[in-house]
């Protein structure tokens, strides 16, 4: 589905989240010259078509006590990646699972997932469980725990400004 200019404007206006007022869709519509009904209909359509993967509360896991968060990566042979990706995605504790390119010699890994937990040992155990359940035992693997968080906010995709240093909008799952 191609995004219309209106859809983009709407997603851009939602960059900082829904205004916390009783009629938030009406408030958004006012900023965009749309009716409340048009805003709701557009968000329904974007959600049903899969452009919006979910619409809801984006929590900060760290603040909720999920202090251990790891990116777990494996060097999976290309012809096994799709099956392993499907197996990992079925695990309830895997929040993201993506295939990405290897960049040799710096980076040999091809399959990525994210695991959040309260403690490091718990996340390590889940990474082992994921490895076993996706039949990845014996393959090169790394578990990259996060340390300092320097920046976290919704993504920005809007056009660049006149100085060429843009304002980019829209929260994404990248």
């Amino acid at each position: 589905m191609e995004l219309s200019t209106r859809d983009r404007a709407l997603l851009t206006a939602l960059e900082g989240g829904l205004p916390l007022v009783a009629r938030p869709y009406a408030a958004l519509g006012e900023r965009l010259g749309l009716s409340e009904g048009e805003v709701i209909a557009a968000l329904r359509r974007l959600t049903e078509s899969g452009v919006v993967k979910r619409f809801g509360v984006v929590v900060r896991h760290h603040e909720l006590g999920y202090r251990a968060n790891a990116m777990v990566v494996w060097d999976v042979p290309d012809d096994r990646i799709a099956e392993a990706g499907a197996r990992l995605s079925a695990l309830p504790f895997v929040t993201l699972c993506y295939r990405r390119p290897r960049r040799l010699p710096d980076w040999p890994y091809s399959l990525f997932c994210m695991i959040h937990g309260r403690e490091r040992a718990a996340v390590e155990a889940l990474a082992d469980e994921a490895t076993a359940k996706a039949e990845l035992s014996g393959l090169p693997r790394a578990t990259l725990f996060s340390q300092r968080r320097f920046k976290q906010r919704g993504a920005r995709y809007g056009a660049r400004d006149a100085e060429g240093r843009g304002r980019w909008t829209i929260s994404t799952a990248a």
Binding site: L20, F55, L96, M114
Partner: protein, 157 residues
Amino acid sequence: MATRSHHELTELDRRLLDSFQRGFPLDPSPFAAIAEAVGSDEETVLAAYRVLQDEGFVSRIGPVVAPHRAGWSTLAAMAVEPAALEETAARVSAHPAVNHNYEREHRLNLWFVVTAPDEAAGIVALDEIAAETGRKVIDLPLIEAFHIDLGFPIQWN
């Protein structure tokens, strides 16, 4: 600023955080709809979300967009010697295309997400970040998404 730890959240707070990570009501009065679902009232629910957002438990209420449906993005990494990490991270964070930027335990120890309207703009941003930090940027764009963040049930204990 956050004055409470997550242990001090009320039962209502917990439900507001946990139960509406997806399927937030697309209804003219969503907070009234939530209030009805949780047995509260609209004003109380709105006030609770305002506090949860102010305190940093909620990043925002809104859409999570599928990658590459509304723009371009990539995950990128850099190897930075520990003594220079803070300064380099600040330079990376200062770029408007960067939305997440984390230290991780690896030789490649700085990981960030770059988003842009399209691939050409994204590559310009990566080049600028490399120039501004004087470091090699390892670009790891998505090839295939098997599973995208749909929120997950929070374990409160």
